[in-house]
C-alpha cells in the first residue's frame, strides 16, 4: 500500500510517474512497493524477552496492532503494562465494520453500518501475503482461522471508461490476447531476421518454440480464433454434454483495439510480490487477529484516552490524557518506560518531550489519502450472473477497484462488495464529500461495470482515511528523501520513550510493518532496561 510521490532519485520519481500515466493509481501503488522498500519480513519466530526486572512498568500508547503485540509480549515477559487507546475499541486500523457498528468521522458525519449478520467490510488492511511471517505466526499462535484471499480472478473485469464503449473486459481475455499478440509480433520479428544480431540460430529456435506455447499461436505463429485459443481465453458458450449444443469458440480482441485500450497495463497488478498467491484473510474479518491479541490483554487497556502530552525525565515517563468522549479533568499515567504507537499524523500535534532529531522525524511523514467503500447488495449478482468469485476488478473510474468477497462464495443470499478502493487525486475528491455523497457516487460509478447495482443496492458505509479521527490519514507515506533523513532518528529510544507502528517500518501500511516495528522496538527497549537495572 503505497502510492504517489516519492522524490529521491529523479529517475525513480520519473519512472513512477510514467507508470502512473500509463497505468493508473492502482499500478503506481503496486510499483511503489517494489522500487523503494525492502519488502521481505524479517520475522524470526516468537520474541524472547527474559529477565525483566521485577516491577518495571511500561506504558503503551495506542491499541492497534503495534500496541497490542507489545502489550501481549511485554506482559508475558513480566512487565507491568498499561495501554491507553483513543478509540472505544481496540485494533486501530485493523478494523472490520459489521451491521450495528457506528462510525463518526472528523467533521461529525455519523454512519451506522446496516449490513446483514455475517457480512462485513475491512476499511483498513484486508489481506495478508504469505511472506508476512509475523502476522501469520500470531494468527497461528492465537488460533485465528485464515482463508484464502485470491487477489487474481481471471473472470473479474478490467475496465476503461474510454475503451470498448465503456464495456468491461474479462481479465482472461485481456491476459490471453495480450500474450497472444505480443508472441505473434515477436515471432514475426524473429522470422524476418530482425533480431539476428541479438540471437543465435539456436536461441531463435528456442524462442519461437516458447512463444508458440506462451501465446497459444498456430503452426504459422499466428494468434487467431481457434479451439486452442478458446481453451486459453474461454469459450463464448460453455462446453456441454449429451445432445447439448457444441461450445461456441471465442474471438480474440483485435490487436489495435487492445493496445489502444491500455487495459494490458493492469495485467501485472496481481503479480506484485506483495499480492501474489498465497494470500490470506482471517475468517470473519481482518480485526480477528487484533481481537485475539486484545482478549489476552483487555484488562490492561483503557479506552477513550486522548493523549495530550508526553513528558519524561531521568526517572520515568508521564503522559497526560483526557476522556475523549466525556472530557473533564486531565488524567496522568506514569511509568518507567513508554512505547508510543500513535500515528505520526496525530503525534506531530501533541507535545512530546524527545530530542530534536526524533521530533523532526515525527513531523516529517505525510499521511496518504485513501477511501474504501462497503456496499451491501440484495443478491450476489457478481457470482450468480457474472461468475466472479472473489478477486478484484480494476477500473479507470474514480472508484478504481471493485473487490468481491472471498467469504461465503457460492452460498447465495446477500453480499458486501468493496465498492471502491481509492488513491491519489480521486481519494481527496471523495474525502471532500459527505459520506452519503461518496456512497451515492460509488454506486453510480460502479453501475458502469455492474448494471445490476441500482436495482440490487441496499446500504453502504465508507471510510475516508483523512477523516479518521484516530489516524488523520491512511499511512505514513515517507518520501525516500525524508526516510533517508529521519528514519534512523525515528527508530531510536529517546531517553525512556520509543516509537513503533507501520510508520517506523519498511513495510509501510502493512500490519506486518506495525508488528515487526513493535517487536524490534520492545526487544531493544528490553535490552536497555535489563542493562540499566
Amino acid at each position: 500500500m503505497r502510492p504517489v510521490q516519492n522524490p529521491l532519485a529523479i529517475s525513480r520519481r520519473d519512472l513512477l510517474r510514467k507508470i502512473g500515466v500509463s497505468a493508473g493509481a492502482a499500478m503506481m501503488y503496486q510499483a511503489m512497493s517494489t522500487l523503494g522498500f525492502a519488502r521481505e519480513s524479517d520475522y524470526r519466530g516468537p520474541i524472547e524477552l527474559s529477565g525483566a526486572p521485577k516491577g518495571t512498568s511500561i506504558l503503551i500508547l495506542g491499541a492497534g496492532m503495534a500496541g497490542l503485540v507489545a502489550a501481549y509480549e511485554l506482559r508475558r515477559a513480566g512487565y507491568t503494562v498499561k495501554v491507553l487507546e483513543y478509540n472505544h475499541r481496540a485494533g486501530g486500523r485493523a478494523w472490520t465494520l459489521r451491521g450495528g457498528d457506528e462510525y463518526t468521522e472528523l467533521g461529525g458525519a455519523r454512519q451506522k453500518c446496516e449490513f446483514d449478520p455475517g457480512l462485513y467490510v475491512n476499511p483498513g488492511p484486508w489481506r495478508i501475503p504469505y511472506h508476512h511471517h509475523a502476522m501469520l505466526d500470531y494468527a497461528r499462535r492465537l488460533k485465528v482461522p485464515l482463508e484464502p484471499f485470491n487477489e487474481l480472478n481471471f473472470n473479474a473485469y478490467l475496465h476503461s471508461s474510454k475503451a470498448f464503449d465503456g464495456k468491461p473486459q474479462r481479465y482472461r481475455h485481456i491476459y490471453a490476447d495480450y500474450h497472444g499478440h505480443v508472441a505473434e509480433l515477436l515471432s514475426k520479428a524473429v522470422n524476418k531476421g530482425q533480431l539476428d544480431t541479438e540471437l543465435t540460430a539456436e536461441d531463435k529456435e528456442k524462442l519461437l518454440e516458447s512463444l508458440r506455447v506462451f501465446g497459444v499461436l498456430d503452426k504459422d505463429y499466428r494468434y487467431t480464433k481457434s479451439f486452442a485459443t478458446s481453451e486459453s481465453r474461454g469459450y463464448d458458450s460453455e462446453r456441454g454434454a449429451g445432445q447439448m449444443p457444441p461450445p461456441a469458440l471465442s474471438t480474440p480482441i483485435a490487436r489495435d483495439a487492445l493496445l489502444k485500450s491500455g487495459l494490458a497495463n493492469y495485467l501485472v497488478t496481481p503479480f506484485d510480490y506483495d499480492l501474489t498467491p498465497s494470500m490470506f484473510q482471517p475468517v470473519g474479518g481482518m480485526d480477528q487477529i487484533a481481537m485475539a491479541l486484545y482478549r489476552d490483554v483487555a484488562a490492561l487497556v483503557e479506552f477513550d484516552a486522548k493523549v495530550t502530552a508526553i513528558d519524561q525525565d531521568e526517572r520515568g515517563v508521564s503522559v497526560t490524557y483526557v476522556d475523549a468522549r466525556r472530557g473533564g479533568e486531565p488524567k496522568h499515567a506514569r511509568a518507567d518506560w513508554c512505547l508510543c504507537t500513535i500515528p505520526l499524523s496525530i503525534l506531530s500535534e501533541i507535545p512530546v518531550k524527545v530530542g530534536e532529531p526524533m521530533l523532526a522525524a515525527i513531523q516529517s511523514a505525510p499521511y496518504e489519502a485513501s477511501v474504501k467503500f462497503g456496499l451491501q447488495f440484495k443478491r450476489r449478482f457478481w457470482e450468480e450472473d457474472e461468475r466472479i468469485y472473489g478477486g478484484i476488478s480494476y477500473t479507470d473510474l474514480p472508484i478504481q477497484m471493485i473487490g468481491y468477497p472471498m467469504a461465503g462464495m457460492n452460498q447465495g443470499g446477500k453480499g458486501v462488495l468493496l465498492g471502491g478502493y481509492v488513491w491519489g487525486t480521486n481519494a481527496y475528491e471523495f474525502t471532500s464529500m459527505t459520506p452519503e455523497q461518496r456512497i451515492r457516487k460509488a454506486v453510480e460509478l460502479g453501475a458502469q461495470i455492474h448494471p445490476q447495482y441500482p436495482a440490487e443496492y441496499e446500504n453502504g458505509v465508507v471510510v475516508s482515511w483523512h477523516r479518521s479521527p484516530f489516524t488523520q490519514g491512511c499511512f505514513a507515506n515517507w518520501s525516500d528523501d525524508a526516510r533517508g533523513k529521519h528514519y534512523e532518528n525515528l527508530c531510536q529510544i529517546d531517553g525512556r520513550i520509543a516509537l513503533a507502528g507501520e510508520h517506523a517500518s519498511r513495510l509501510p501500511a502493512w500490519q506486518e510493518g506495525a508488528v515487526l516495528s513493535s517487536l524490534d522496538t520492545i526487544g531493544r527497549m528490553h535490552k536497555k532496561i535489563v542493562a540499566t537495572a
Binding site: 497505468a23 472528523l106 474514480p398 488523520q472
Partner: protein, 141 residues
Amino acid sequence: MATPLSAAVRLCCLMAALALSSMAVRADEPPPFSPPGSFTDMGHFAHQDGATLFRAICQGCHMADAKGAVGAGYYPALAGNQKLASATYPALVVLKGRHGMPAFGDYLSDAQVVEVVNYVRSHFGNQYPDALTQAEVAKLR
C-alpha cells in the same frame, strides 16, 4: 517542479470550468472528479478555480467551513487564521506539505496554487488584500 498538464487534461479542465461557470456553486454540492483517467493522468486535479479546488481538496480535512476538526489530533482552521497573513506560508504548505499533510506540489500547477491560496486568503473571515502570483509560486517550488 512544474508539471505541464497534458492536452487531454487541459481539455477536461476547460470543460469542467465551462460547466461550473454556468451553475451556482453551493457548499453542499459534491465536487466534480478529476477526469476519470487513471490511464491518462492520475496525478493532477482538474479544477482550475480556487473555490472548486477548495471544495475538491482542502475541505476534505479542513472542512467545508474551513474551521478544521479535532479528534485524537486536529486539523487547523483556515478560517480566521493569522498564519495566512503572508501568502508565502500557505503557498509553501500547499506545495511542500507540513507534518501529516501531504505535499500538493506535484498535483497542482502554479496557477492552481495561486487560485486556491488566494481563495482561502479572501474567504472564511480572511481578508488579505494582497494576492499571490504565479511567479512567486514558481520560485517557491
